[in-house]
């Protein structure tokens, strides 16, 4: 029989944003009954992979305004400036709170928290825990969350649908992976913190679980997605695996070299090479610019051929063994392990890889979406502070600041609501029938999950990569609707209930195709180049028409419809992005 369990606030996603939200709800109103639902055990969430650090103003010579300015210019004037101001103001306090909860931040000899420089930031303001910052933050949050008895965890539950009543979101339907049992979990408020969707692309730093489920859940429930065309490529991923070599490697002084051993970034308006790292210059320029420079170098034939596509080199040798082992031990470990080379003595082959989604579910600064009762925070959401290009180390902080903020908002909202009724059960029964009909009980089904997934990934890489054009995007749009069609004919080998990971893979693929379509549509409509969105047919930024957020909603027919929302400007009028000065 189908079950329903109810809570006051339900958080879908147990990563940095989700756990921070759960603690915020518990601290805002200790009487609330909180649930955290996650498709993997919370400490497996992708936040665990973040390496470099989390930004927040701490130094005496730094100011909130400078952090805001770096973020806004880094985002090519697309961030909402009220959101950014709120973000930079809350950031130091949130990071400090992590310190009080036990996060092992690196320290200065006098015992104060240490900070390091990061790409696109003019001051040193990135807090770090060696090069495992996300790992330490996630485990600190998870372990701290264990002390709150009000939190019920649904570990290894996969959310398949948002329950909604009259436009108000009141819970989810989820599969308990261990048993295959389908459950309705109702709540007065739901917070989505399901992370990003890098897996839509073939080469990505993102973990297998980053399949855009939350974006698709919200989108299908009628919530708009925002700025989906802005996909961040990180300039330094390892070929084949896509494993990230953190920006901290460049912040500590690493060089980017082309096949002639030349620091090619000087040719792309990023400043003049200096032996020491210079903030907001050369290797410490923003990620979009660095990734674009790679493509230009490739076109000039100045990259190196590798078995997995072209690469350039990241050179850390001059930093010396001591610095590498104390500041970048994980980088060395990863290189030794996966590339069989030692960065102390050898050059690291790197290429741009998909890393982060600037876009996501549209929310206000409280994390509230236009759907009543639905909130979102972290990478799944788009507040937006990242605009057209996120600065490294802003996103871990974003998870904390907006995770907490939306936890508080959802707690307040839930306190005023009555418990949803059992009538939601009917929707859950429908969902169960859908899953059965579409996957488990269906006869036949000729398509394999992996084939559709790979075709989708190839399409996205070719048409919505670092550079895009109308032709490539239109082609991709056609291809994706074909894939949507073929997806309906998917056949599973596994019809069992206990831990049916193939069913999960199918559902994740469904989410990814949704997200891919919204990326393509937004990219097609934005006929300008800004930040991470570069159109070869429209190479200039167009503030007249596009100082605006793309907002994509699902029409009644299931197709995406794109509209625009103005950007909120407070104190920083649009200007040219200047680096290397």
């Amino acid at each position: 029989m189908l079950d329903i369990s109810s809570h006051d606030v339900l958080i879908v996603g147990g990563g940095g944003a989700g756990l921070r939200a759960a603690i915020a709800v518990a601290e805002t109103n200790p009487n609330l009954n909180i649930a955290v639902l996650s498709k993997v055990y919370p400490m497996r969430s992708h936040t665990v992979s973040a390496e470099g650090g989390a930004a927040g103003v701490i130094g005496p010579d730094d100011t909130l305004d400078e952090h805001a300015y770096d973020t806004i210019s880094g985002g090519d004037w697309l961030p909402d400036q009220d959101a950014v101001e709120f973000f930079v103001k809350e950031a130091p306090e949130e990071l400090l709170r992590m310190e009080h909860w036990g996060c092992p931040w690196n320290r200065e000899p006098n015992g104060r928290v240490a900070v390091r420089p990061f790409g696109g930031m003019k001051k040193e303001r990135t807090w770090f825990a060696a090069d495992k910052t996300g790992f330490h933050m996630l485990h600190t949050l998870f372990q701290t969350s264990l002390k709150y008895n009000a939190v019920t965890r649904y570990d290894e539950f996969y959310a398949t649908k948002l329950l909604a009543d009259d436009g108000q979101v009141q819970g989810v339907v989820a599969i308990e992976l261990a048993s295959g049992k389908i459950q309705a979990i109702s709540a007065k408020a739901v917070i989505l913190t399901t992370g990003g969707c890098g897996r839509v692309f073939p080469f990505t730093t993102n973990a297998a679980i980053k399949t855009g489920d939350g974006m698709s859940l919200a989108y299908r429930a009628g919530a708009p997605l925002k700025d989906m065309e802005f996909v961040q490529y990180h300039p330094t991923g390892l070929p084949f695996t896509g494993i990230l070599i953190t920006e901290a490697a460049r912040a500590e002084g690493g060089y980017m070299l082309n096949k002639d051993g030349y620091r090619y970034l000087q040719d792309y308006n990023l400043g003049k090479p200096q032996p020491q790292p210079v903030l907001r210059s050369m290797e410490l320029g923003p990620r979009d610019r660095l990734s674009q420079a790679f493509v230009k170098e490739f076109e000039k034939g100045r990259t190196l051929k590798g078995p997995y596509g072209d690469v350039v080199h990241l050179d850390l040798r001059h930093l010396g063994e001591k610095k590498i082992t104390t500041k970048l031990p994980f980088v060395r470990e990863l290189c030794l392990k996966y590339e069989n080379l030692d960065p102390v003595k050898e050059l690291i082959p790197v290429r741009p890889v998909v890393h982060y989604m600037m876009g996501g579910v549209h929310t206000d600064t409280n994390g509230a979406t236009p759907l009543k009762g639905l909130y979102a925070a972290g990478e799944v959401a788009c507040v937006s502070i990242n605009g057209a290009n996120r600065l490294g180390s802003n996103s871990l902080t974003e998870c904390l600041v907006f995770g907490a903020q939306c936890g508080r908002a959802a707690a307040d909202f839930a306190s005023t609501q009555r418990a949803p009724g059992r009538h939601l059960l009917a929707q859950a029964v429908d969902e169960e029938t859908r899953l059965q009909d579409q996957f488990l009980r269906k006869a036949g089904g000729r398509e394999r999950i992996s084939e559709i997934r790979e075709e989708m990934q190839r399409t996205m890489e070719q048409s919505a990569g670092i550079y895009r054009s109308r032709d490539s995007l239109e082609q991709a749009a056609g291809k994706l609707s074909e894939l949507q069609e073929r997806f309906r004919d998917i056949g599973l080998d596994d019809r069992g209930h206990a831990f049916n990971t193939e069913l999960v893979a199918a559902l994740e693929l469904g989410s990814m195709v949704d997200v891919a379509e919204s990326i393509i549509q937004c990219a097609l409509h934005r006929t300008e180049s800004r930040g991470a969105h570069q159109r070869t047919d429209f190479p200039a930024r167009d503030d007249q028409k596009f100082l605006a957020h793309s907002v994509v909603t699902r029409t009644a027919e299931g197709t995406p419809a794109v509209n625009y929302l103005p950007v909120k400007i407070t104190r920083w009028p649009p200007a040219e992005r200047v680096y290397g000065k």
């Binding site: 993997v40 055990y41 400490m43 497996r44 969430s45 992708h46 665990v48 992979s49 306090e93 400090l96 709170r97 310190e99 009080h100 909860w101 036990g102 092992p104 931040w105 690196n106 320290r107 200065e108 000899p109 006098n110 015992g111 104060r112 928290v113 495992k132 790992f135 330490h136 485990h139 372990q143 701290t144 264990l146 002390k147 570990d155 261990a178 973990a207 297998a208 679980i209 084949f240 695996t241 494993i243 990230l244 990863l334 392990k337 996966y338 394999r448 999950i449 992996s450 599973l492 080998d493 596994d494 069992g496 209930h497 206990a498 831990f499 049916n500 990971t501 193939e502 893979a505």
Partner: protein, 248 residues
């Protein structure tokens, strides 16, 4: 055709099977492939019903622990070529109940983790407005090693004591308890000691030491537990000498 290697994996479905069995697949042997890539190859191209956990593929999320030729390993950090010419046998982590194919039940560990109170305990909290707790790099260094645990549970699969007595708190949970004990910001040592000096806590460990040998993150849980025993004994002597409340 590229070179092949035989991959033998455990299959088990609680709905269908009474006991697990072994199934063999031929997979390509590629230089850059880890064991996890081979499993994914099978899942994507041969048999989609093969179930296993994985996520980060970079040795940090802790979900892909399995027995590879009898040794507990992170399959995303274990290269296939190290096992050429094969066969490579992949089994679910030892000492845990098998739920499906290569997936084991680990809620036991999560319960134990909560029990050791792995969070900062303080008599009086410092307000945020007063800034951070100062902690020198040396103080950080005393516990950093124990904070590196990714909860992959390879150590539980290697510890015979845990296999024999599932009540034993086990290496990772104890190492994490010690991680907080050694943190200069924490004041919960004696609270944790009350829990962990029971029989199923630190005293269950007989210092087999294999936990440390298999740990992919060099956490050294064996060391953590022995140090903990030493601390517990010191505390015990102290409470003998000062029976009227020498608890620190």
């Amino acid at each position: 055709m590229a070179e092949q290697i035989a991959l033998e994996v455990t299959r088990f479905s609680p709905e269908r099977d009474k006991v697990p069995s072994i199934q063999a697949f031929d997979v390509p042997l590629r230089k850059e492939w880890v064991v996890l890539d081979a499993l994914n190859y099978v899942k994507d191209r041969v048999d989609g019903s093969l179930s296993f956990r994985w996520s980060c593929r970079m040795g940090v999320c802790g979900s892909c622990g399995m027995m590879v030729n009898g040794e507990p390993k992170l399959t995303c950090a274990t290269f296939l070529t190290d096992y050429a010419p094969g066969p490579v046998r992949v089994e679910p982590l030892k000492n845990f109940p098998v739920m499906r194919d290569l997936i084991v039940e680990i809620t036991d560990f999560l319960g134990k983790l909560s029990k050791v109170k792995p969070w900062i305990i303080r008599a009086k909290k410092k307000p945020l407005s007063e800034g951070e707790y100062l902690q020198t790099p040396d103080e950080l260094d005393t516990y950093r090693q124990f904070s590196m645990c990714i909860n992959c549970l390879l150590c539980y699969a290697a510890c015979p004591v845990y296999g024999l007595d599932p009540l034993f708190a086990g290496p990772a949970a104890l190492a994490l308890a010690q991680r907080y004990n050694m943190d200069s910001r924490d004041e919960g040592k004696s609270e944790r000691l009350d829990i962990l000096s029971q029989h199923d806590g630190i005293w269950g460990c007989t210092f087999v030491g294999e936990c440390t040998e298999v740990c992919p993150k060099h956490v050294d849980p064996a060391g953590a537990i022995q140090q903990y025993k030493l601390t517990a004994t010191q505390e015990w002597i102290r409470s003998l000498l000062m029976p009227w409340g020498g608890k620190s």
